[in-house]
């Protein structure tokens, strides 16, 4: 009872603090002499933290008088998954969202754009208003702290899928960190529209926050893919499920935004970059709405509740708000400054083949991909509303529709590093591309002539080789000369560029892994009796025994297998099939023998201990390990580009505490 009151009080105080802070920041934006509402801003973050801690306490102390614990807690849930229960259902995950937003609000408060202070108050007002909305949403549409009467003895525990893999503690928080991080570029987009200022300071603060949110989102998506691969037992890592798409959409537009900011520094793409920053957050809210309102059917829609309509109103208000501001104030923004590197005397063909055109192309292609995924995701819902017929948009559609766009992105990545900022005549560009093109043709030809690959694998391998060769040449050009010491100096000097090149290389490697693994032969399945042997997809499995175990709330069957592949023993593995009768769910946890170039993936589909037979599915998946490595490389490159520059001691002595400093210092002049 007291815990219920405490939690609700935290939420109420948080909502009040957020409203007060919003009012204060609006006042400060109108009149610079007003004091910034620092205490109220800190208070909302503290309230969010306190609410999360209260719910964690209720979960850990098994206080079933609290509704969330009664519905999603359980006595038999281990400590780790009790902690992660906070975000295993809707109401708790909204609290996690609030906690992240609180952290972001504090960080944004402490790191204003130094050279353009007028952008800060309106941006803070947008962030605190967003926090106020989410406090209200938790309070009125799904308060997890409601008291339950009578108090139940035990709860059902979280959804079985959400307590079967340690990634539960990493994947949702990373995604949420990405989502709330991308709220800041949106806030600064509104601030730019309100104040009419988009300068270098605007681009810098938006870039830093976008990189932060983008990196978290990338890591979250990668961990989610790995989790899906390691637990769900269907052998894949991406199913074009609506919820997966919802996380991909802001990732795509944020990627486009990062590139458009690059072009912006050389003049241009100002209003466009601003629109991308705002649209990214709209897509974050749209994704939250789609996945949490039950509008779309999905494997991730774990809980449904009444938060759909308020979220949709919020989505409409923010989206219409920024579009209307853009319409009314868009032309007050500083237009693109003249590009100092642009040679206006050059003919149109040279101007077309410039780095800037490459970035515009990147933005067009990524926006096209995002538009395709968006339409594909909402299409079944819209079709159902319009004509009442049920339509499915499955992986086959996305693979077909996105293949040409993905190839174009790869091709653009291949020639991107060769393009010069001012542009150059086609002949000169072609001559510089010839060595890489020859290498690409050789690689593609060899891939086609060896093994039995399809045309898509051949083309993608060739393009990826092209990308890798131009990237490596670009890296070498920056690192060459000066020996090891000189190279180290060059790394420090060109850190951002090198980081971007590493990230691009990772994308090319990932493209190869995706296409090659996608062309793998399908899994093979067969019923195997105890003490007998079967060979499926070239893998020989011997069923040593079957065990079934019935424990509280679950029935598990495990097959003990001895596995041999290509004359080599892979040892003993035990894939498991678990039935959770209370949840009506079956989880087939696969046994995976992981290798760099191929995984042996064995799933137990059905087990009959009485008859002593097991239905096994075996597949050999190529290059999945390489895909995870590529994700890691992508994050390494991002970290290299985003890491704050070491702040030199001499310049900061004295006012280290007084002056607020930008979140991530710039390296480039």
């Amino acid at each position: 009872m007291t815990v219920s009151l405490l939690g609700t009080a935290c939420l109420g105080l948080g909502a009040v603090a957020a409203l007060v802070a919003t009012a204060g920041w609006v006042a400060r934006a109108r009149d610079a002499r007003r004091q910034p509402p620092r205490s109220a801003t800190y208070a909302l973050a503290v309230a969010a933290l306190a609410a999360c801690l209260t719910l964690e306490w209720a979960l850990l102390s098994r206080d079933f008088s609290v509704r969330y614990v009664a519905e999603h807690g359980g006595r038999d849930v281990p400590l780790y998954y009790t902690i992660t229960s906070l975000w295993s259902a809707l109401e708790g995950s909204l609290l996690l969202w609030l906690l992240g937003l609180g952290a972001v609000v504090v960080l944004a408060l402490r790191h204003p754009p130094t050279t353009e202070p007028r952008l800060h108050p309106p941006a803070m007002a947008v962030l605190t208003a967003t926090a106020a909305f989410f406090f209200g949403l938790v309070l009125f549409a799904g308060n997890p702290f409601d008291a339950v009467e009578p108090v139940p003895q035990d709860g059902p525990g979280p959804n079985p899928l959400l307590r079967s893999h340690p990634a539960m503690g990493v994947h949702p928080p990373l995604l949420y960190a990405g989502y709330v991080g991308l709220a800041v570029p949106f806030a600064y987009a509104i601030a730019a529209l309100v104040t009419g200022r988009t300068g270098a300071a605007w681009a810098r603060v938006v870039r830093n926050w976008t990189l932060l949110g983008w990196a978290a989102l990338t890591a979250g998506i990668a961990v989610g893919a790995w989790w899906s691969y390691a637990v769900l037992g269907w052998g894949g890592y991406w199913a074009w499920d609506p919820v997966e798409n919802a996380s991909l959409l802001p990732w795509l537009t944020a990627t486009a935004l990062l590139h458009s900011l690059l072009a912006r520094r050389r003049g241009g793409l100002g209003v466009w970059a601003l629109s991308l920053a705002a649209a990214t957050f709209s897509l974050v809210i749209l994704g939250t709405f789609l996945t949490r309102s039950g509008v779309v059917g999905s494997v991730h829609a774990f809980t449904q509740s009444g938060i759909g309509p308020p979220l949709l109103v919020f989505l409409a208000a923010t989206t219409v708000g920024w579009l209307a501001l853009l319409a009314l104030r868009g032309d007050r923004l500083a237009g693109p400054g003249p590009d100092p590197t642009r040679d206006s005397r050059g003919d149109w063909r040279s101007r077309l083949l410039s780095r800037r055109s490459g970035l515009v192309g990147n933005n067009l292609l990524l926006t096209a991909v995002a538009a395709t995924v968006l339409v594909g995701t909402v299409f079944p819902t819209v079709q159902q509303m319009v004509s009442g017929t049920e339509v499915t948009v499955g992986p086959a559609y996305y693979n077909q529709a996105l293949a040409p766009l993905a190839l174009a992105v790869l091709a653009l990545m291949a020639i991107g590093p060769l393009l010069a900022w001012p542009g150059e005549p086609p002949g000169r560009l072609a001559r510089r591309a010839v060595p890489s093109a020859i290498g690409a043709c050789v690689v593609a030809g060899l891939v086609g002539l060896t093994g039995s690959h399809g045309p898509s694998v051949v083309v993608v391998c060739g393009l990826a080789a092209f990308v890798a060769s131009t990237l490596v040449r670009a890296m070498a050009a920056r690192l060459a000369g000066g020996g090891p010491a000189g190279a180290w100096r060059a790394v420090r000097r060109h850190r951002r560029t090198l980081g971007a090149l590493v990230a691009h290389l990772a994308v090319a490697v990932a493209a190869v892994a995706v296409v090659v693994s996608g062309a793998d032969p399908p899994a093979e399945q067969r019923e195997v009796a105890v003490d007998s042997t079967a060979t499926l997809r070239g893998v020989t499995v011997r069923l040593l025994g079957l065990e079934s175990r019935v424990t509280e709330g679950q029935e598990a069957a495990t097959a003990r297998l001895e596995v041999r592949s290509e004359g080599r023993s892979l040892g003993r593995v035990s894939p498991t099939l678990t039935l959770f009768p209370d949840h009506g769910m079956v989880v087939a946890t696969p046994a995976i023998d992981t290798g760099l170039t191929r995984d042996v993936y064995i799933t137990l589909l059905a087990a009959d201990p009485q008859a002593g037979t097991a239905l096994l599915r075996v597949s050999v998946n190529s290059l999945i390990g390489v895909l995870w490595l590529a994700a890691g490389l992508l994050l390494v490159g991002t970290g290299l580009a985003a890491w704050p520059r070491r702040i030199s001691v001499t310049s900061r002595v004295g006012n280290a505490e007084a002056a607020p400093r930008p979140l991530l210092k710039e390296v480039d002049p």
Binding site: G199, P309, A334, A368, E390, G394, A396, V434
Partner: protein, 337 residues
């Protein structure tokens, strides 16, 4: 070696990169040709069935194709496809056969008709249309920039604040989005209300039921499809029909306790307690510690005023003291005393 190269004619040395490029292109062409030939070779029946099943949705699952799923309906679909492939029908004909029976939602690919056209044309047309729009706006801007004051373009970054005409295009876009979202809100508000009432909900239900009952009829000797059909009917409150489906399942495998319990539960919910009780006693004869059967039987006996009720419920409490319903049962027993 270097001397030898220096002595080669200049023309030949110039031709080296070109020759290399031609050789590389030939290698690429050979590799691609082989890849295309490998891909288009004859395929066996399994591969063809799989290719078709991969484009058909498993109606019982979320986001899984009939090729991947282990659900009874998916197995039924695979068998149907195999029969039709053996009968020499084309993949498109087979897909149409499923669409005729289950509606377009059975295919994982959206149809290229009506609204679906947007889905297929958008990825193709997006980039050309955007490029055209970009070219038109640049052309328009250059024309106005030629005559009017060079306004914002020359101003230093981050300072130019000039009141001006609102961008009408963006305003129209904002209005359009506002209208679309309002419609969406209204629709979503209707959708989240009483689900079974809406016509859309009714059609969804029918499609799923059609598929499930077709699956059950196509494999009448399998328990799984009948159970799935029964559960779907029960979910929709059609208890009498659900009981019939469960009866089929129990007749196929009288020892299947889950099926028998579902049947007993459906009987109990549709007011046929007298049929539910013997069934529950059978289940308990096989498994005396079947918690849910003890609870249901005890409650039914209690309602009928039978004296065995307290004994059954006490056994339930022994087996499942921590059960969510245990507290209520205890109160019930105390009230009786």
């Amino acid at each position: 070696m270097a001397g030898g190269l220096r002595r080669t004619p200049v023309a030949l040395r110039r031709a080296v990169p070109g020759l290399l490029a031609i050789a590389a292109l030939l290698l690429f062409a050979a590799g691609l040709t082989r890849a295309v030939l490998v891909g288009s070779g004859p395929t066996d029946e399994d591969a063809r069935v799989r290719a078709i099943a991969a484009t058909v949705r498993c109606p019982e699952c979320i986001g899984e194709s009939a090729a991947d799923s282990q659900a009874p309906t998916a197995r039924g679909i695979r068998e149907t496809i195999r029969e039709q492939v053996r009968a020499g029908r084309e993949p498109d004909e087979i897909r149409r056969w499923f669409v005729d029976r289950y509606g377009p939602g059975i295919l994982l690919e959206p149809p290229a008709r009506g609204l679906g056209l947007l889905l297929w044309w958008l990825p193709v047309a997006f980039v050309p249309l955007a490029l055209a729009a970009l070219a038109v706006t640049r052309w328009a801007r250059r024309r106005t920039a030629g005559s009017a004051v060079r306004d914002t373009a020359r101003a230093p970054e981050s300072s130019a604040v000039q009141p001006g005409r609102p961008a009408r295009g963006a305003l129209v876009l904002a209005a359009a989005v506002a209208v679309a979202l309002t419609v969406g809100i209204v629709m979503a508000g209707r959708g989240t209300g009483d689900r079974p009432a809406g016509p859309a909900a009714a059609t969804t239900g029918d499609t799923e039921l059609d598929v499930l009952s077709a699956a059950a009829r196509s494999a009448p000797d399998e328990v799984g499809p009948w159970l799935s059909l029964g559960r779907a009917l029960e979910h929709r409150g059609r208890l009498a029909e659900a009981a019939q489906a469960y009866e089929r399942a129990v007749r196929l495998d009288p020892k299947d306790s889950p099926a028998a319990f579902r049947l007993a539960f459906a009987y109990a919910r549709s007011g046929q307690a007298e049929r539910a009780r013997p069934l529950l006693q059978e289940i308990l004869a096989r498994d005396a510690r079947h918690t849910e059967a003890l609870l249901l039987l005890g409650m039914l006996q209690h309602e009928a005023g039978q004296p065995e009720a307290s004994e059954t419920l006490r056994r339930f409490l022994e087996v499942a003291a921590e059960h969510p319903a245990a507290a209520a049962v205890r109160r019930l027993l105390e009230g009786d005393r």
